[in-house]
Amino acid sequence: MEAVLLVGIPPPPFSGRWRRAQPKLFGTGGQASVGTWIFTIARNKRIDHLRRERRPEIHPHDPALVADPQGGTDDVVIWEEQARRVRAAVGTLPEEQALVLRKNFFEDKLHDVIAQELHLPLGTVKSRSRLALAKLRRVLGDTG
């Protein structure tokens, strides 16, 4: 669970040791910022530990994988820039929207469970999630 412990330490992604570590951690096909990579590790550990489930994921070298015509980028700088913009946008979300997203991301709760917990109609929870994503999509949309 080291990845979880790291949260809160601002990772210096371009310092020597991190830069050398990255090919080992990401492989050459890595398409994410360091922060996103840490998030996915923490998520998969949680699914494994708490739910005893496997995490079905694509394999980047699967011959059946349909290639992305827009290409990917291995450029960590671009992904870090996107991550910075997403962080800024998440910080501007109204608390009621951020709360729904946090419960979904960190408590593994689907919308119907969140609605019960917050004593809200399911439609309200769905629309808060939708509004939050619509705002974030505008930020993400710039890099496709």
Binding site: E53, I58, H59, R87, N104, F105, K109, R130
Partner: protein, 225 residues
């Protein structure tokens, strides 16, 4: 129907479903179907990557937990000792298959699947340990229809080979059809070849045709999309 410049499916899972996959909230059977769609859909892979970036931003907005002063140094020491990440495909991926990963891991070789036959339809169950969730491969003979049915819960269907048409439109490889209790649909397989689908249903199905009544039927008793 599909421009060469835009490979990939035209019917996608809802954004809410992709969010639940990215956050980790989606149970394994539904997550398997979404991940298999992602292998065939570059557009949804980009969406999920964006949603994971949102998860990362949320994670960083949580109050920090105190850690030992040397945590980072010890972690970097461990990383230094790691072998470089696997760069090439494992042997299991060398043979071409119509089943993308991760589905191939769950099914094994397609010619060794134990099919159960119901007339024009054959089914094989996967992930049988999940209560209230039915996961199956379904193979439907060319041009054959499936019985009318509606859903108490929700149902996701992913086309792996061939195609089918229903009230939501025409579905080919990689396309996802999402149905809930409001949809009474009757999928018909395309005439040219068998239609192979992965179907995940999270509640018993309710037949509205074939047997002429609308009693809830346990999903393993009937072949249905």
């Amino acid at each position: 129907m599909r421009a060469a410049s835009h490979p990939g499916p035209v019917h996608h899972p809802s954004e809410a479903r992709l969010l639940d996959y990215a956050s980790g909230a989606l149970p394994e059977p539904m997550a398997l179907l979404i991940a298999t769609h992602l292998a065939l859909c570059p557009a949804c892979r980009r969406t999920v990557a964006g949603l994971e970036a949102v998860g990362s931003a949320l994670l960083e907005s949580l109050p920090p937990e105190p850690v030992a002063d040397d945590s980072l140094a010890r972690l970097l020491d461990r990383i230094d000792r790691l072998e470089p990440a696997e760069q090439s495909a494992p042997a299991s991926l060398q043979a071409a298959s119509i089943l993308p990963q991760p589905l191939r891991d769950y099914v094994g070789p397609l010619d060794r699947v134990g099919w159960r036959h119901f007339g024009a339809v054959a089914e094989a169950r996967l992930l049988t340990g999940f209560e209230n969730v039915t996961t199956r491969l379904l193979r439907v003979a060319p041009g054959r229809a499936l019985p009318h049915h509606t859903h108490v819960g929700s149902e996701l269907a992913l086309v792996l080979q061939g195609g089918f048409g229903d009230v939501n439109g025409h579905h080919l490889r990689g396309d996802v059809s999402e149905a809930d209790s409001a949809v009474d649909h009757r999928p018909v397989a395309d005439a040219e070849e068998d239609c192979l689908c992965l179907i995940v249903t999270d509640a018993p199905l309710r037949l509205t045709g074939w047997f002429g009544h609308a009693e809830p039927v346990h999903p393993h008793l009937i072949p249905a999309i």
